[in-house]
């Protein structure tokens, strides 16, 4: 049947199972918006196109499906860049559709013309410029396939206005993807497997490093079987949190720059590292020259380009993590590794007792308390979406994630302003889940316009602002490495409670520790969005910390007890 390019866009999105699209209209995408009303897709009007991409990203990460964002040409498209780069770094499958000026005008600097395929070339998994209606169907199908398969990532489709307006024959079947060079379905060599088995079964001090890939490939169960059978302890990366239950006796806690001290020590003492779906990011390795010096390394990874990129490994197994782990399980021997685990327990020493609930209430409100109370009150069952900075690390340390996809955060790119829009996307993906955005006062102000989106869409997202009056993580670096010269980090904020009130959102300010739990309870009982402004200790610091580029075992440790730095109120 004959359809316009615009109709084909929506027809294909519906057939791809898309229910929600996050976007912002404009001139070059108007034909598509006009056709949208005839299709059963819910469009969420955002307040800035960056928000649309973060929402699509949050939607993808919360659901495991593909998130979709749509915008017009020029500024609409360029506003998407940060969200696309965020999705690229964290392997999040989103499809971004942008309008483009008419194909006859391309190259003539027409109104709102930007070469967005050129701009996004290095930050998309793939992108397309579509100039004819008859290319739309195949392009959309390929985009969804590429975004979701292999190592997922963002795909951008730029569609000219005339391609949206003109008509052609629409044939879904005939528009199947044709991607001869795209092979997302690699599997390891049998010899490499044998080498891996020998290393694993003879290892005395092995550690499993569990990354985002565990969640993406759905390998949670396979990982658990693997760890339990082999008795090998597991440490997740930031994006791996939730891939292995926090309460599991084999879970050591998070690794890396702000990971647990004993985990980093265990990695440095290990004789075998099993890297599952992670990429040895500099935030988890510290100095690569001194990283895990005594350990053999096995890297299971779907992207061949990641193997031997940051850390030279002994065995690389390229393939889907879940399939690889399931394939390996029968040949993994049950070895008694209790001595090694006991040794790690001893490494914990006092630092394992982070019993912040029982610390005396000295009148100061610490962010760690807020996060810990949120965890207790939600029984670890919420979907928490964090922004970037100190609160993000405290959340990772004090909210214990039992379920995959219960933490959504910008890890690789470290995008401030991510939390609020990504939480909106997560809520659309999982309307029955309790969704909390945990966000700093700095990051919140980057995308707080999306509060209006929350209200217009009448969705129930809770927002916890960890407000310390500073760009806290930057301040922390200035404290450690720039002799406490706080250049441009003190931050003036509006009255967030009044602000929320202006949007028609219920809000509370919390200054005392005793008010934290009751306020969280109140927020949970309220059906609808709630914003809580937690005014926490101003100069609190995230410990432990591996300074950038330092050896993993050389951590800055928490002075004990917690040093109070702020003036009494």
């Amino acid at each position: 049947m004959t359809k316009t390019g615009s109709e084909i866009i929506w027809e294909c999105l519906v057939r791809q199972g898309v229910k929600h699209v996050f976007g912002y209209p404009g001139g070059a995408i108007l034909p598509a918006y006009d056709a949208m009303t005839r299709y059963p897709i819910h469009h969420i009007l955002v307040r800035h196109e960056q928000g649309a991409t973060h929402m699509a990203d949050g939607y993808a990460r919360a659901s495991g499906g593909v998130g979709v964002a749509i915008a017009t040409s020029g500024p609409g498209a360029t506003n998407m860049v940060t969200g696309i780069a965020t999705a690229m770094m964290d392997s999040s499958p989103i499809v971004c559709i942008t309008g483009q000026v008419g194909s006859k005008l391309i190259g003539y600097d027409a109104f709102q013309e930007t070469d967005i395929t050129g701009v996004t070339l290095p930050i998309t998994k793939h992108n397309y410029l579509v100039t004819h209606a008859d290319e739309v169907a195949r392009t959309v199908r390929e985009a969804f396939y590429i975004a979701a398969s292999g190592r997922p990532g963002p795909v951008l489709i730029d569609i000219t206005k005339d391609a949206q307006q003109s008509s052609c024959e629409f044939d879904w079947e005939a528009a199947a993807p044709q991607l001869p060079g795209y092979r997302p379905d690699l599997s390891p060599n049998p010899e490499d497997y044998d080498q891996a088995f020998a290393l694993i079964n003879s290892a005395q001090r092995p550690v499993i490093l569990a990354g985002h890939g565990v969640i993406i490939s759905g390998a949670m169960h396979a990982l658990r079987n693997f760890a339990e059978k082999s008795g090998i302890p597991v440490t997740p990366t930031l994006l791996g949190l939730g891939c292995f239950p926090a309460s599991h006796p084999l879970n050591l806690g998070m690794m890396g720059m702000h990971g647990e001290a004993w985990v980093n020590k265990a990695i440095q003492e290990a004789d075998l590292l099993l890297a599952f779906g992670m990429r040895f990011d500099d935030r988890v390795t510290g100095n690569t020259k001194t990283y895990a010096p005594t350990a053999k390394k096995i890297h299971v990874e779907i992207d061949p380009a990641e193997i031997n990129k940051n850390i030279k490994v002994d065995v690389g197994l390229v393939g889907d993590l879940r399939q690889v782990l399931e394939h390996m399980l029968p040949d993994i021997e049950s070895v008694d590794r209790s001595e090694w685990r006991q040794h790690i327990d001893e490494l914990k020493g006092d630092s394992a007792v982070r019993d912040i609930q029982n610390l005396p209430d000295d009148g100061h409100l610490y962010a760690a308390h807020v996060i810990n109370d949120l965890w207790r009150e939600t029984h670890g069952g919420a979907v928490v979406v964090t922004d970037v900075g100190q609160h993000q690390m405290w959340e990772a340390q004090y909210y214990h994630h039992e379920q995959p996809r219960s933490l959504i955060t910008s890890g690789g790119l470290g995008t401030m302003g991510f939390a609020v829009p990504a939480a909106i996307g997560a809520k659309f993906a999982r309307p029955d889940a309790e969704v909390w955005a945990v966000v700093g006062d700095g990051g919140f102000q980057m995308t707080m316009a999306e509060l209006a989106t929350i209200v217009q869409e009448k969705i129930d997202v809770k927002i916890a602002i960890i407000n310390n009056g500073y760009l806290g993580m930057v301040r922390q670096w200035q404290e450690f490495f720039y002799d406490r010269r706080y250049a441009a980090t003190p931050l003036l904020s509006p009255d967030f409670v009044k602000l929320a009130d202006a949007f028609g959102i219920r809000a509370h300010g919390v200054k005392k520790r005793g008010d934290v739990l009751p306020t969280i309870r109140d927020a949970r009982e309220h059906r609808g969005p709630v914003l809580i402004d937690f005014q926490v200790e101003q100069e609190d610091t995230v410990y432990p910390m591996v300074p950038a580029g330092a050896d993993l075992h050389n951590m800055i440790r928490r002075p004990n007890p917690i040093v109070e730095t702020a003036q009494d109120v």
């Binding site: 290095p122 001869p180 060079g181 795209y182 092979r183 690699l186 380009a305 031997n308």
Partner: protein, 187 residues
Amino acid sequence: MLNTFVVYVENKPGVLNRVASLFRRRAFNIESLTVGHTDKPGVSRMTIVVDTDEQGAKRVEANLYKLVNVLLVNNVTAGPTVMRDLAMVKVAANPETRSHLLQLVHVFRARVVDLAPESVIIEITGTEEKIDGLLEVLRPFGIVEMVRTGRVAMSRGAKGAAATAGGPGELAIPVELQDDEDVSYSV
């Protein structure tokens, strides 16, 4: 060291840009890059020369495969390979110097493709060393202008590029496009 890659790509708009952008983004220096059609419609062949070590060469290969439009990558540096460069050199030549010049052209098995009262254009095909050698002896005559294609390469023997390539592209060569066999890959 110089690594030579033979790369098959889908002939689509922007593919050259994607390849070039990848090299820029990953901070690899392209020594030379040539691109042209193959005998298969819709497939182009590039020869890319990169100055990098063995580890870097593996990264180049793995990253090229991440490009959706790349069909096959073959690092032909180590194997027996015919490598050629083509140059055209316009040299100042008057009736007095011309015969001497033509002798040199003969020795280097080059050819004269244009002859004007005050100049000749010499065409030479060969390895880069051979061309450099000719340029050396032509320089005293006065080189007016010069153009070189950059290196093109082909493995010796009966096997095609697909058969000699390692890596995940092994079956991605356009002939047997979509077979369902698993591709096993060793790093």
